[in-house]
Every structure is written in structure tokens, then in C-alpha cells.
């Protein structure tokens, strides 16, 4: 009886008793969710266009952020470093297409998945070799990103918002809007959607798959760079980030592997869900449930909706 009370009633009583704390947890969850969503977005872009489940998206985030900070450390002005990092991401996309995707064309999904593992190892080794394995501080002020916090009084206390989080929210919204316009309105965007629908049909109307792949990997690289800057500004740029990037997987499952809105909504649900669960239900189980809670939500979801929230309905034929 006491246990039931602890599970079903006590957390809500706590929420009601301290609405400021609840709002703060909600906000923290939202911000974490935005970052999960950003990583998931990179996954979705690549998965839609090439059917490759890109495990390396997490390390691409780290690699992009490291390149930016590393270049700046060597005396390159911040914005030039930013531009150079974008160039590096393009070279990476081009190299991946040439050396990895093209020879592996028409292979089973799991083989391509494994190849992105190989890419992960290469990027870890290369990144550490060039920039060193120590955590670095993101060049927040040089990029004119705000720091500090805003305190908002009310709800019987105060809620604090980090300015960088607000900036992250705005930048993410802009990026998603740009991507949406790009996908819906431009020629290349249409080609991308055609490729996502059917590789063969796209080829037969004269769309170059190779070109499309370079473009999506580059787009995913730019998304990774943005994610890296935002995440790096919140904590620091280190290789431990790529473990957190695994959290993007349940986000994808929740939202559906092929849906951009799904990635966003899934990210927010997971981010908010796990922060609230950790804060209110975590102590019951001894804490640390953040590490698996997201996966269990996703698992529960999958049993009822195997294609995710926004995924295309899976139709199987013999």
C-alpha cells in the first residue's frame, strides 16, 4: 500500500507542492530533449536518403565540435574556424561516400551499419590523434553565444533559464525550419525525398544517388556541428558525448526512423520524460534510472506502434 502510494500519489503531491521545481525539471528536460532531437535529426536525414543507420552520428558531433575548438586553439579566428569546420564536414561526407558507401552499395543493412561502426572508430582515433583526448572548452563567447542565466520569479519560487539553452532552442527551431523549407521547396530537396521513397525509381528518372548521399551526409555533418556547439557550450567538448548520443536511438524509435517531426517530438518526449522520471520516481529505485528509462519508454511504445509515432506504416508482402 505504501509502495503504491509512493509510486502513484507521492510524486504528484511533490509536483503540486513545489511548482517552481517542477517547472525547472520540465525546462531541463526540454533542453536535453532538444539536444537529443538534434542528434536524432542527423540520423533521420541519412536514414531517409540512404537507408543507412548511421551509428557514427554521435562521434560526428564530437568530431565537429573538436575541429572547431581545435582550430581556434591554433589561432584561427572563431568564425573562420567555423567555416573551415563546415569544409571539413563536407570533405568527410565526400570521403564517406567515395570510400565507404559506394563500394558497399546494395549490401545488407546490417553490413552498412557495421561500416558506420568502423567510421566511428576511425573518427575517434583520428580525432584523438589530431586534437588530443582531453576535454576542451567550447568557444562560446567568441561565437557571440550568450552565457549566464535569466531568473524568473513566480510559481512560489524562481525558475532559472540558462541563456545558452534559450539560444539553443531558437537555433534549433531555425535549423528545422530551414531544413523543412529545403526539403519541401527546392529541387535538391525534392530529389532527396524521391530517393527516400525509392532508390530505383529515383535512379530511373535521372537523380544521381552519389550526389544525394554526399549532400545528406554533409547536411548531417552541419547538424552535428550545431549540436556539438550547443552541447559543448552546456558542458564541454569531450569524447564522452558519444555515449549520450546513444540516447538518440530511443528518440528515433519513438518518432519513427523516417520522420523529421518525429525526431523532434520524440526528442522532447524522451528528454522531458526521463528528467521527470529521474527526479520524482528515481529515488524510489535508488537513482540513476536516467540511463535506461528512455529505452524502456521506447520499448513500451514499440509493442503498440512498431513503426513509431510518425513512421510510415510498415507493409509486408511476400
Amino acid at each position: 500500500m505504501h509502495l503504491l502510494y509512493q509510486i502513484f500519489i507521492d510524486p504528484f503531491v511533490q509536483m503540486g507542492a513545489a511548482p517552481d521545481l517542477f517547472a525547472q525539471t520540465l525546462w531541463d528536460g526540454l533542453v536535453a530533449g532538444v539536444l537529443y532531437a538534434l542528434i536524432a535529426l542527423g540520423f533521420v536525414l541519412i536514414f531517409k536518403a540512404s537507408g543507412v543507420f548511421n551509428f557514427a552520428q554521435g562521434i560526428m558531433v564530437v568530431f565537429a565540435a573538436l575541429t572547431l575548438v581545435g582550430l581556434h586553439e591554433h589561432g584561427v579566428p572563431a568564425f573562420l574556424a567555423l567555416a573551415l569546420t563546415v569544409v571539413v564536414m563536407f570533405v568527410l561526407a565526400f570521403g564517406v561516400e567515395r570510400l565507404m558507401l559506394r563500394p558497399l552499395i546494395n549490401q545488407a543493412d546490417v553490413i552498412l551499419f557495421m561500416a558506420t561502426f568502423g567510421l566511428t572508430y576511425v573518427l575517434i582515433g583520428f580525432g584523438q590523434l589530431v586534437f588530443g583526448g582531453n576535454p576542451k572548452v567550447m568557444i562560446t563567447s567568441d561565437l557571440y553565444l550568450p552565457s549566464g542565466e535569466i531568473r524568473f520569479k513566480g510559481l512560489g519560487g524562481f525558475v532559472s533559464f540558462q541563456k545558452i539553452d534559450i539560444a539553443a532552442l531558437i537555433i534549433t527551431s531555425i535549423m528545422v525550419a530551414v531544413l523543412a523549407v529545403f526539403f519541401q521547396r527546392t529541387r535538391i530537396g525534392r530529389a532527396l525525398r524521391a530517393v527516400a521513397d525509392s532508390h530505383q525509381a529515383a535512379l530511373s528518372v535521372g537523380i544521381s544517388l552519389e550526389q544525394i548521399w554526399v549532400i545528406v551526409w554533409f547536411a548531417a555533418g552541419v547538424v552535428a556541428l550545431t549540436t556539438g556547439i550547443m552541447w559543448g557550450a552546456r558542458s564541454e567538448v569531450s569524447f564522452s558525448l558519444q555515449i549520450i548520443a546513444l540516447k538518440a536511438l530511443p528518440v528515433l524509435i519513438l518518432g519513427g526512423l523516417t520522420s523529421i517531426p518525429g525526431a523532434i517530438v520524440g526528442g522532447l518526449i524522451i528528454g522531458i520524460g526521463e528528467k521527470i522520471a529521474e527526479f520524482y520516481w528515481g529515488p524510489l529505485l535508488g537513482g540513476g534510472i536516467e540511463s535506461w528509462f528512455a529505452y524502456v519508454i521506447a520499448l513500451g511504445f514499440l509493442v503498440f506502434r512498431p513503426q513509431g509515432l510518425f513512421g510510415e506504416k510498415i507493409i509486408e508482402r511476400i
Binding site: 546490417v110 572508430y121 584523438q128 524509435i253 535506461w292 521506447a298 514499440l302
Partner: protein, 358 residues
Amino acid sequence: MLYREVGQYKTNYAADMAVFPILQDRIGIGIILFVAFVVFPLIGNDFLLNAVLIPFLIFSLAAIGLNLLTGYCGLLSLGTGAFMGVGAYACLKLTTYFPQVNIVVWILASGFFSAAVGVLFGLPSLRIKGFYLAVATLAAQFFLEWCFIRIPWLYNNSVSGAIEVPLRTFMSVPITGPTATSLTRYLTVLSIVVLMTWLASNLVHGRIGRMWMSVRDMDLAAELIGIRLLRAKLLAFAVSSFYCGVAGAMLVFLWYGGAEAEVFNIDQSFLELFMVIIGGLGTLIGSFFGAALIYILPIALRLIPEGLGLPLHPATVEQLRFLVVGILIIVFLVLEPNGLARLWQIGKQKLRVWPFPY
């Protein structure tokens, strides 16, 4: 020249369906077993047995377990590390409560606990497949890892939070624990691995293996010809987790001699998956090839700079190792996506028709 099947006639169905239809293959396997059971124990030093052969065999067994699931039944799993962990912790609890029973019995029995957990987390596999299932098994990975850390009962409330392997003897010869020699541990591991590989071979060549393969190739069609999907898939999860569990128990009891939950983290799962894919999906021999390559390659890479006398910083060596392993994985996949087992097959075919090209 030596590898010919000329004159070897098959006069009954049993001979036609044999696992090793060619005489030379049978001789070869005999030689391998002889070397493993007799030559290595005689000539092997501590380094060879303890740092190369024991882990190689244990990882091979885990790779076979994953291969049964992923290669034969087509269900992608990223929870291998956690299932191995279940085996290790189950073995610890069993031998704590019943110390008089032979430890080898408990190592094998701990597989059943792992199998039960595997079935539980395999339940969603009926509705989801492919990468969706892979993420579902990640839930198992992270949840079980959390359990290993947060439930002190599992590691006997030891202060360090690690498994401490107790001394267990069989006919007064120590098998596990600090005083067990690498030779007895090697022979124990070898016997278990050979036995379980033989079982797995029989399993995949029989009705159950065919059932799994039909599910892998197209589960809808398999269902139409009367295979019960839920049973086939759950059986695959159970058997696979059984193998992983035994491998995990051996990893801690017969190799590390003590381990923390960290041993069974996500990297372990990925390592196992590498072995299976590089070795060859859906082949038992590939599991051994993959384990050899993935386990022994890093050791070799660590030794090469030393051997050449290059004055490299250990951290640099580690980074280079990542880089080289990553590149090799991609190169291997590009050159032979079907894995080392396929190369082996091609090689044998070339030998059979030599000196003609085909």
C-alpha cells in the same frame, strides 16, 4: 593437390548430409583438436594460454551465441554484453549458495538464467524487427547494466562492487580462484567451448536451425509454411542468451577472476557484434575467425610499435589502434561483406579445383 575429394563416394544419405563431407576436413578438425587439447597445454606458456587462447575461446563462444540469434535467425541484438553479465552474476550467486557443487556445473547452469532473461527481452521481437529490435535490446543492455551496479545482492554486497571469484576445486584441483593455474582453466574453457560448439553445430544443421533460417530469410513466408514465429524467435533468444551467459560466466570465473559491471557494458556488445559480422553471419566457423581477428588484432597492433622499436607514447598507440581497427573494419566489409568465413570457403573451393581456375 592434397585437398581433393576424388574417390570419396557417398553411399548413404547420412554421409551426404555430413557436416564434414570431405575426408581432409575431418583430418583437419582432428589435427586442430589434437593441437588444442595436447600440443598447446604441453608447449603453451602462461602468456599464450592466459592472454591469447582463453579469451579467444570465450569470445568465440559468445560470438557463436550472438551468431545463432543474428546470423541464423536474423534478429539484430545489441544486448550481448548484458546477457553475458547475467550469466556471470547468476554463476556467482549459485556458487555462493551451493559451494559444494562443481563449479563447471554452475557455469553451465548459469546459462539458463541468462536464457530466461533473454526470452523476456526477446518478447518484443514478434512485433518489431531490424534496427527497431536492436534498439529494444539496448533497453536490456542498459537496464541490466544498471541492475548490476545498483543491486548489491548480485555481487554479494562486496565493498568494491565487483565480483570476487571464490576458490573452487574439482577433485582438489583448483579450477577457479586465485590459485587456479592457467592450464586447468584453459582445459576447462576448451572442453566447454568444444562441447557447446558441437551442440550448436547439431542445432543449426537440424530442424531448429532450418526453422531459424527460414525466419531469417522471410518471416512472413516462414509463418505461412507453418512455423510458429513466436516460438522460433524466442527459442533463438533463449539459446543465444544461454551461450552468451555461459561465455560471460567463463569470462569472469575462468579468465578475469573478478570483474566489475563495466566489463559487460555496451562496448562488449558491440565487440561481439563485430566478431560475428567480420567473421561471417550465419556460420559457426566465422565466429571463431571473427573472435580471432577482433581479439588478437589489437594485441598485435600494440606489439608492433614495440617490436619495431618506435618510441611512441602509449596514448598515441591506443589512438592509432582505434584508427587502424576502424579502417580495417571498413576495408574488410568492402572487400568481403560476407565475412572471413566466405573467404575461407572461396579458398577451399580454389584448392579443390587447383591448378585450374574453375
